[in-house]
Amino acid sequence: MGRLNDIALVTQVTVFHNKRAFDQLVREYQSPVRRFLLSQTMGNEALSDDLAQDTFLKAYTHLSQYRGTSSFLTWLTRIAYNVWYDYCRSEKAKVNSDQFPVGVPSAEGMAVSSSLFTLQSSLKTDLYTALATLKEDERTCITLQLVDGYAIDEIANITNMPAGTVKSHLKRGKDKLANYLRQNGYDR
């Protein structure tokens, strides 16, 4: 969907309160937003769907603040990141960070998620297990660049981190992942 079309739909929602236009936006962008959140939760489908729903509801109530300087998907991803960040903070407040459950792939989530994607189950498990070796910020930067294809300045905009910090997270994350993949024979 082109940016002009997105802006036309956003205008339809904000000016004419056209819910069908928002429905079109949700259907168009649900996949990348849920994929991003699945990577952050490492395959916990129930949690990522709750967060994705929260993302779209926040997008709806703040739609008039979308300036159109970036793509609508980038704006949505920024909201999704903020929703994820708030969730992590609230969970960390509840649980001691050593016992924080988000960093560990949930067997329940993995099992449920297998019905959802057009990706082989073993590949998915490999992906989330590999991502589990990274810290939260590293995982976010790595998935935004290597899965969603964002440039460093876009990642900095989405996460509100300085570009230098994003580069550091990417460097450390890539080193860790490459080591992990070599140790597990992915380079053969």
Binding site: R35, Q53, Q65, A130
Partner: protein, 109 residues
């Protein structure tokens, strides 16, 4: 194989991953607040502000503020009062900062 090539190969499949809708969009649309609720919420906020302003004028709220300020200037404050004052200003400042950051999170792009 270089690290970049290895990562590129590993994430190639993940890039093509499409998440099936499976009723997700419908669930989102069911939770969208309707315009009437939003309008009522805005009207209620406006009404509360209006009532606060009217009460402030009717009860000459500025008299209380001036009296409080004069008392504060004329009476040397105890350390506990000073601490309470600083804490109050701190809380107000934090709330304002939170509001500004909250707005910035949605309007920066």
């Amino acid at each position: 194989m270089t690290d970049d090539q290895l990562l590129e190969k590993f994430f190639q499949t993940a890039r093509q991953m499409e998440v099936a809708d499976n009723g997700f969009s419908d669930r989102v649309m069911q939770h969208i607040p309707n315009e009437r609720t939003l309008k009522l919420s805005r009207m209620w906020t406006a009404f509360c502000i209006f009532v606060a302003v009217v009460l402030f004028v009717v009860f000459r709220g500025w008299d209380i503020i001036v009296y409080g300020l004069v008392m504060m200037v004329n009476t040397p404050p105890t350390s506990q009062q000073l601490l309470t004052f600083v804490a109050s200003i701190g809380v107000i400042g934090l709330l304002m900062l939170y509001e500004v950051i909250g707005r910035e999170r949605y309007s920066a792009l």
